[in-house]
Amino acid sequence: MTFIDDILNYDSLSIVGLQKNTGKTVSLNYVLDRLPVERKRIAVTSIGIDGETTDQVTRTQKPEIYLRQGMYFGTSEMHYRQKRIVSELIDVSDENTSLGRVVTAKALTGGKILLSGPSSSSGLKRWMKDMHRVGIELVIIDGALSRMSLASPAVSQSMILATGAAYSTNMNTLVQQTAFVVDLIKIPLTEEANLNLLMPIEKGVWYIDDEGALHELSHISSLSQDFRFEGMDRCKILYVAGALVDGFLEKVRKNPKLKTCELVVRDFTKIFVSPQQYRLFLKAGGVIHVLQKSKLIAVTVNPTSPLGVTLDSDTLCGRLSKAIQLPVYDLMKNSADEPSASPVWN
């Protein structure tokens, strides 16, 4: 069983790369090539431009996106006019991008396509809703980590993470950093009662006391340097709706009153702390949970960096797999359906 079967359990999938040239498009093509398009209605879009032949930044060769007959896709007017496949238009939306409106079409022949879909997260959500409304069963979003909020659990149910030598050519660093992101993605959900209470809150810092009552702290931003925790002796759950940063996490860790309280953030894309601070927090007995979580389906690696450095694929996959306790795939090397390395469970 490969991770392709896993994908079919969800109605949305985002593919995010930790960096450019980590093999995101290869992962996307791999997935598109293997999904059962005959029995599942699938739509693909991108939150940037994707499928161009040369990278706009590094000028390196890029794989193009290959759509199979019967797939639906969302792209901008400009790229639709440049398409090199036969396709049938099914919608022209009011969603504007710098390359024109987002149009949706069905591929009537297989072929290469440039994807450039909605560029805001609300636009993307609207597009996905429209797709599900017309009977699409699986929406795939080609994303970017630099714009991870667009691939956040608020938008898609499952994700594939692409990493590789482009992120760091030092294998230790690469494994550690990737493992850290995976740790964040895997942060468990908070209790259901808290979910319902906290979900509608989109800004500020709040806490729930031991009687289950919700209070807002008078300070608006968790980014503020002189953030103080006052009058919250009975705090059970501390909720940060916005970004979680180092300074704030450190204060929580050092505050004896907050020793037993659970820290809740909206989703992992809101966490902007360094691995060191995060580990110190956990080591001191800190507990962190999220309101929204997406299922990490697979981690893929590209051992070659655009600068020409190639790491040893087997070693990289093996070490990474051990660190994250998940199968890791080098899709460039193996088109075989077996993971390049599975974790050694111990």
């Binding site: 639709y80 090199r84 036969v86 238009l89 022209v92 022949t109």
Partner: protein, 361 residues
């Protein structure tokens, strides 16, 4: 002057406008570009259409209205495409899709209007022929591409393409040429319908607007006004929807006001916090709503048609023009006096004139 110019009036016109359940963004833009009606006939006619929509809303059930609203959400602004068509340009796939989409929508909406006898009130041009041109297989689906059925050669090439994906690039180039020919031919056939397409788009915006106004009348408890024959405006139990809503939130009720005024000056006086300003705001709002054909927030209203509405609230500083509150107010009042000297029919609602003026002694 258009709705766009009046919408920010401090009388609260925007509040009422924003409460309309318009389905299409195009309707909203079209309404903002609507000039203010200045004759009794025009206004009477628009209320006659609206009356039919109120009857329609009362007749049919909610799911039917929801379906119609859902359809109207599909109304897009394709003026550029229609203009290109009018100039005999060759339309591309996206533009042809837009035309087909509009035509299918128009035929669907027209049928619904006819079924309820509303086709006389707002006529949607018949665009069945447009659909026939753009739907060679008779699928009646709002999708488009240069269909195989347009050309046997295209069909053969595409069949080859599916069999030999390796030759796709080369075959696509051949297809592209044929497709362009088909588009040229289609565009030519569509040119005579440019005007009808434009009319259909506007007709659907009108339907969207009237439906929204009719629902608003029911929702806010508004009334249909009569047009005053003697230039005297009479209001029974008028209210301000925004103030009423704000009070309702605090579990308090709005005290409706009845008022009659003619061409002679009318002075409103009373205790502080007695609601004088709210009366002026409500009167201004009602006048605008009347001249833009909305339901009126009152039990009954008999309103005189005016050429222009002035609302001088007295606290509008004009920083850009470098005017103080007092100077800005005097400018406004000056405009009122000039307009009245020119014998134009105006209504001027002035709140505490010269309140910011201070005695020097």
């Amino acid at each position: 002057m258009e709705l766009r110019d009046h919408i920010e009036s401090p009388c609260g016109l925007r509040y009422v406008f924003e409460q309309l359940e318009l389905q299409a963004g195009y309707t909203r833009r079209w309404m903002l570009d609507m000039p203010m009606m200045r004759t009794g006939e025009e206004i009477a006619q628009s209320y006659e259409v609206l009356r039919q929509f109120v009857r329609f809303v009362e007749e049919v059930d909610t799911p039917y209205i929801n379906t119609l609203q859902f359809r109207l959400q599909g109304l897009k602004d394709i003026r550029t495409t229609i203009k290109n068509l009018g100039q005999q340009a060759v339309l591309d796939d996206i533009e042809l899709f837009e035309v087909k989409h509009l035509a299918i929508l128009a035929v669907d909406v027209a049928e619904r209007m006819k079924a309820h006898g509303l086709d006389k009130a707002i006529a949607v041009p018949d665009l069945n022929e447009v659909i026939t041109i753009l739907d060679p297989d008779g699928l009646k689906m709002a999708t488009f591409y240069v269909y195989d059925s347009y050309c046997q050669e295209l069909r053969d090439l595409r069949a080859q393409m599916r069999q030999n994906p390796s030759r796709q690039e080369e075959l696509l180039a051949e297809c592209a040429e044929i497709e362009e020919g088909v588009r040229r031919d289609l565009s030519k056939q569509l040119v005579p319908f440019a005007k009808a397409l434009e009319e259909a788009q506007i007709a659907m915006a009108k339907i969207d607007m009237n439906l929204a106004k009719a629902l608003q009348i029911k929702q806010l408890g508004l009334c249909f006004p009569t047009i005053s024959a003697d230039d005297i405006s009479r209001y029974e139990a008028m209210f301000h929807p925004q103030v009423k809503d704000a009070l309702a939130q605090r579990k308090r009720a709005f005290q409706p006001v009845s008022l009659t005024f003619g061409q002679k000056p009318t002075l409103i006086t009373g205790a502080n916090m007695g609601g004088k300003t709210v009366v002026l705001k409500t009167l201004t709002l009602c006048q605008y709503l009347f001249q833009y054909g909305f339901g009126i927030p009152a039990q009954s209203a008999d309103i005189a048609v005016k050429d222009e509405v002035f609302f001088c609230i007295g606290d509008e500083q004009s920083i850009e023009k470098g005017l103080s509150s007092f100077a800005a107010e005097m400018k406004n009042i000056d405009a009122v006096i000039k307009a009245s000297r020119e014998n134009r029919k105006i209504v001027a609602l002035i709140d505490e004139p010269a309140r910011t003026w201070c005695r020097p002694w």
